[in-house]
């Protein structure tokens, strides 16, 4: 609790970026988080588009009517109902029996699917580092909201799921899990890994996919994750070099995963065509996400993480 209280009251001065705060365990990468950012995250809650059904009660509303104190609705008494829930005031006025319904609060599982393919290790700053920080931030928010948070790294054809965490006191475990994720050595089949991750889901919850989606089957990944019934949030992370390539001249482009080679003449027309293609590609993902009632957020890896958390995700109604 000493660690938790120190985060909450903000007594200790914020550590400079890149230096390890005194309370951070050795498993946590100090370059990813600093103390001040962690405190700011506490104020955020995940904004759910709609109530989701969960196994445990938590700080979130459930579609089920239950035993909480928040009134939801009335319904006519039926045989077998708990007589303690009858509203006698209504019976006195209407002479009919009604039962009060209350919103049952449940906890939900937030699953952070982190694409750890080799392409995610590229970019300045690295897309994987950015994705880790974003995942940590979202995970921490989930922990602070008494949700269950689990991290799953998509590498090769599998998803390496970590144990579910609950409560804000497990934040360092979360950070340690994220720090342990390394980019894959070989090619990654994002669809197979996503399917594996979907099979590991327990019920409906929130699934956050952090990926560059540089996979031919990326659209099917979104489609299948959305089909799990969980609320899907796609954080599409691209590096500045991918968003605005600074290439010039006759070049041979080498794919970092497949080592496939493409010869191009990078002139203005080519770059313009690439940008148009990129916009169409990202637009297709956004459309697909909208059709599947998923959230899609395109991000640049050089984006300020605080700005992302406090402005961009709130603007997109991912965070409340």
């Amino acid at each position: 609790m000493t660690e938790r209280s120190s985060l909450a009251d903000g007594a200790s001065p914020p550590a400079a970026a890149g230096t390890r705060p005194v309370f951070l365990p050795s498993e946590v990468d100090p370059t990813v988080f600093d103390e001040a950012f962690l405190r700011q995250l506490e104020r955020l809650l995940l904004l759910m588009r709609s109530p989701v059904r969960g196994g445990l009660k938590g700080g979130r509303r459930s579609v089920k009517r239950g035993q909480s104190v928040e009134f939801a609705d009335y319904r006519e008494y039926a045989l077998g109902d708990d007589l303690r829930q009858l509203d006698w005031n209504v019976y006195a006025r209407l002479e009919r029996l009604f039962v009060k319904l209350f919103v049952e609060e449940e906890d939900v599982t937030v699953t952070l699917l982190l694409d750890a393919s080799m392409s995610m290790a590229k970019g300045t700053p690295s897309k994987l580092v950015f994705a880790k920080r974003a995942a940590a931030a979202l995970g921490y928010i989930g922990l602070a909201s008494e949700d269950r948070v689990t991290v799953s790294a998509l590498t090769g054809r599998t998803a390496r799921r970590r144990a579910a965490l609950r409560g804000s006191g497990r934040v360092f475990r979360l950070l340690a899990d994220l720090s342990a994720i390394e980019a894959a050595d070989g090619p990654t089949d994002l669809l197979a890994a996503a399917r594996h991750a979907a099979a590991q889901l327990h019920g409906r919850g929130v699934v956050v996919l952090l990926s560059d989606l540089l996979d031919p089957a990326a659209d099917r990944v979104i489609r299948e994750l959305a089909a799990t019934g969980s609320e899907l949030i796609v954080l599409h992370v691209l590096s500045p070099e991918e968003l605005d390539p600074q290439l010039e001249g006759d070049l041979r482009l080498v794919d970092t995963e497949t080592e496939e080679r493409v010869d191009i003449t990078a002139d203005l027309a080519t770059i313009d065509a690439y940008k148009a293609r990129l916009a169409d590609w990202m637009g297709a993902f956004a459309d697909l996400a909208a059709r599947r009632r998923a959230s899609y957020v395109d991000l640049a890896s050089d984006q300020n993480l605080a700005e992302l958390m406090f402005a961009e995700l709130r603007r997109r109604r991912v965070l409340g």
Binding site: K122, E242, L253, T256, R277
Partner: protein, 711 residues
């Protein structure tokens, strides 16, 4: 299409080399990217992987191939052939006289004539030769039989306009001689045909005239003189202005003295008429005067007419100096009368018996001239001497007897002493028989080589000997006598160190080197100097000829003091002071005095003297373009009269059998094409930068345009 150097087309072999280099240029820089997923979907870049497809789309390669083709064509020098308009040998006469500087055509007639001539030479047959003659006061060959047209053009461009009178006849005669060397020659004359004297000699080739000039608006100063008034007190400036236009003109005449404006007169000039302006009372101390003809409106700074060169004239004011002349003799009234009429002369006389040290002046000033009449002292004075009928032999010459009724030999028309002197009716009763010494030149030759008058410089002193007494002839009764005496004393007195009258531009002038000087330095109006030092130091070389009078203005002649020479004549060299006398002239009695009445000025013979060079040529100032027909008529049509020495028998140059052709090389359009290819290639190569620049400018303009609206 024919080519001058077809071998240069081998340069087309570079075409495959360029293509090969393009094909071989497959080495690309590798760039590792996270994924090639998006790139592979770009169709155009995928196609770029195929070399031939890339060739098909490469405008740069196409442009480079076109460049190689154009450069090879350029080196091969393609040309078009057409009949030549000129003969194989061209003699181009460029009129460079003063009238060619007229500005009625822009910028002036000579420049226009050069352009016309260069344009005309484009009709020169292939292999044709060109000679160029510049014609002003005399003709000179600028280019001789050159087939290098660029050199000819350069030479034509370098011909300067002169300020002298043109003599086209001389140039045409020279052109005729040059043309006579060839069987197919033609004379081109680039002129304004405003000729002072129409040439008359025939030219042994056809003549074509390239006329320049349109108008005749010109007013000119045609005379300027500074004269002492009869009272010998003041000086007057006489100016004559001619209007050579067909319209009347109002002009303003400015008189400048030593670069100070002295007086301004408004002059109304009738068409084709002269107007004389007399300005009296020239201030004392003025050395040179300049007259400028300017526009009537002083606010207008533009030249008032189309020939500025004749709107200015200069004159040298005669110096105030009195000459001291001593006559030693019995007293010849004719001689004394003639001498007394000389300007600025104080005349003194003594008898031979009185002559001696006592006749030396006590004021330290030597006699400027001593005239011995039938008498010679044992020792000649160190001053200029005129010995008349010397009785005995002396350093001035040997007397070997007497000549009775000597006839006068053939006179040299260029002899300056005999200028305006007519001796055709002169009879001489008796004269001393003399022999011309080596230091002297014969002025009036007598019978059998015996001179009647000779002059020269002996021991650094001007000396002359007249073999007869004037009264022993009828010469004193003739007008020639005072003129001869004036010319002779003028030479002896050294007054003609520089010419006193205006010199025509380009005319050589005779400059006298005074005693004690080793040479002369002539400063031209533009400040450049010329040193004139005679090559020999013999007595006859005391005069030098200066020919560089091509500029209008004042020339200053400064004697170069010879440190090795004896001291100045006015110094202590004269035996003065041995017999002090109460009168400045010792025992000499004054006979007459003319000129200024002021105290005599001690004249330094080594002081700089000046002379003026002026155009004063109505012929050159008349810039109205003349008729070319008169010049064309001087030419000889081919076949009419064979040119002497022409070698046009059979050879390739026979104009009657074969019409020569000329080539128009097509390098200009090829060079333009090369430049266009280069520009397009540059734009293509940098098209990305240009597009970015355009976008940046567009964005900034959009921002600046949107700023006020949103604010």
């Amino acid at each position: 299409m024919p080519f001058a150097t077809p071998l240069a087309l081998l340069g087309l072999l570079f075409l495959p080399a360029v293509i090969a280099m393009y094909l071989l240029k497959l080495r690309r820089d590798e760039a590792v990217v996270p994924s090639t997923l998006l790139w592979t979907r770009l169709v155009a870049d995928v196609e770029a992987n195929a070399p031939w497809q890339r060739l098909r789309h490469s405008l740069l390669l196409l442009l480079q191939l076109l460049l190689v083709i154009a450069l090879a064509l350029l080196a091969a020098r393609p040309f078009l052939e057409r009949p030549a308009g000129l003969a194989r040998d061209i003699v181009l006469v460029m009129d460079t006289s003063a009238s060619m500087s007229a500005t009625d055509v822009v910028p002036d007639r000579l420049t226009a004539a050069k352009q016309v001539a260069i344009e005309a030479l484009k009709d020169l047959p292939t292999g044709g030769k060109v000679s160029v003659i510049a014609a002003d006061r005399s003709a000179r060959i600028v280019v001789n039989e050159s087939n290098d047209l660029s050199r000819v053009r350069q030479a034509i461009e370098g011909i300067p306009v002169t300020q002298s009178r043109g003599d086209l006849g001389d140039a045409l005669e020279l052109a005729s001689k040059l043309a006579a060397r060839s069987g197919d020659a033609q004379v081109l004359v680039a002129t304004d045909a405003a000729l002072a004297t129409t040439p008359t000699g025939k030219v042994a080739a056809p003549v074509k005239v390239l006329t320049v000039g349109r108008e005749r608006k010109n007013q000119a100063i045609v005379a300027l003189a500074v004269r002492t008034s009869p009272s010998a007190v003041t000086r007057s400036v006489f100016t004559s202005v001619a209007n050579l236009d067909l319209d009347s003109a109002a002009r303003r005449l400015e008189l400048w003295g030593d670069d100070r404006l002295l007086e301004v007169r408004d002059v109304h000039l009738d068409p084709q008429a002269r107007s004389d302006v007399l300005i009296d009372d020239l201030p004392k101390g003025v050395g040179t005067v300049e007259v400028r003809l300017v526009g009537a409106d002083p606010a207008v700074v533009a030249a008032p007419d189309q020939l500025p060169v004749d709107d200015r004239a200069w004159a040298v004011v005669p110096p105030d100096r009195t000459r001291l002349v001593l006559v030693v003799g019995s007293g010849d009234p004719y001689l004394e009368t003639a001498l007394s009429y000389l300007p600025d002369v104080e005349l003194y006389g003594v008898t031979p018996a009185e002559y001696g040290p006592k006749t030396e002046r006590t004021d330290g000033r030597p006699w400027d001239l001593v005239v011995f009449e039938s008498f010679l002292p044992a020792t000649l004075p160190k001053t200029p001497v005129l010995a008349i009928s010397p009785p005995t032999s002396s350093p001035l010459g040997d007397v070997s007897g007497t000549l009775k009724d000597p006839g006068i030999g053939t006179l040299d028309p260029d002899e300056p002493v005999l200028r305006f002197v007519d001796l055709s009716t002169t009879h001489i009763a008796e004269a001393a028989k003399l022999t011309t010494p080596s230091w002297a030149r014969t002025i009036i030759p007598g019978p059998r080589g015996a001179p009647l008058l000779y002059s020269g410089t002996h021991d650094g002193v001007n000396q002359a000997v007249l073999a007869f007494e004037p009264r022993r002839s009828d010469l004193p009764l003739q007008v020639a006598f005072p003129i001869l005496l004036a010319n002779l004393t003028g030479e002896l007195l050294g007054s003609s160190t520089a010419p006193t009258e205006a010199v025509a531009p380009g005319t050589p002038v005779q400059l006298v080197i005074p005693s004690g000087a080793k040479g002369l330095t002539v400063t031209r109006p533009d400040g450049t100097t010329t040193e004139l030092v005679p090559t020999t130091t013999a007595g006859t070389s005391a005069a030098v000829t200066f020919a560089g009078t091509d500029q209008l203005g004042i020339y200053t002649v400064t004697p170069m003091v010879d440190p090795a020479a004896s001291s100045r004549p006015s110094g202590s060299g004269a035996p003065s002071g041995s017999a002090p006398s109460a009168t400045p002239a010792g025992t000499a009695r004054p006979l007459a005095s003319t000129g200024a009445s002021e105290a005599p000025v001690v004249v330094d013979p080594l002081a700089p003297v000046r002379f003026a060079v002026d155009l004063f040529d109505v012929g050159e100032s008349t810039i109205a373009p003349g008729s070319a027909a008169a010049i064309v008529a001087l030419g000889t049509q081919p076949g009419a009269s064979p040119a002497p020495g022409a070698s046009g028998v059979g050879g390739a140059g026979s104009p009657a059998t074969e019409r020569p052709t000329t080539r128009d090389e097509l390098w200009v359009p090829i060079v333009l094409a090369v430049l266009a290819f280069l520009c397009v290639e540059w734009a293509l190569y940098h098209r990305d930068g240009l597009v970015k620049l355009r976008r940046t400018i567009g964005e900034r303009l959009g921002r600046s345009g949107a700023g006020p609206a949103t604010g």
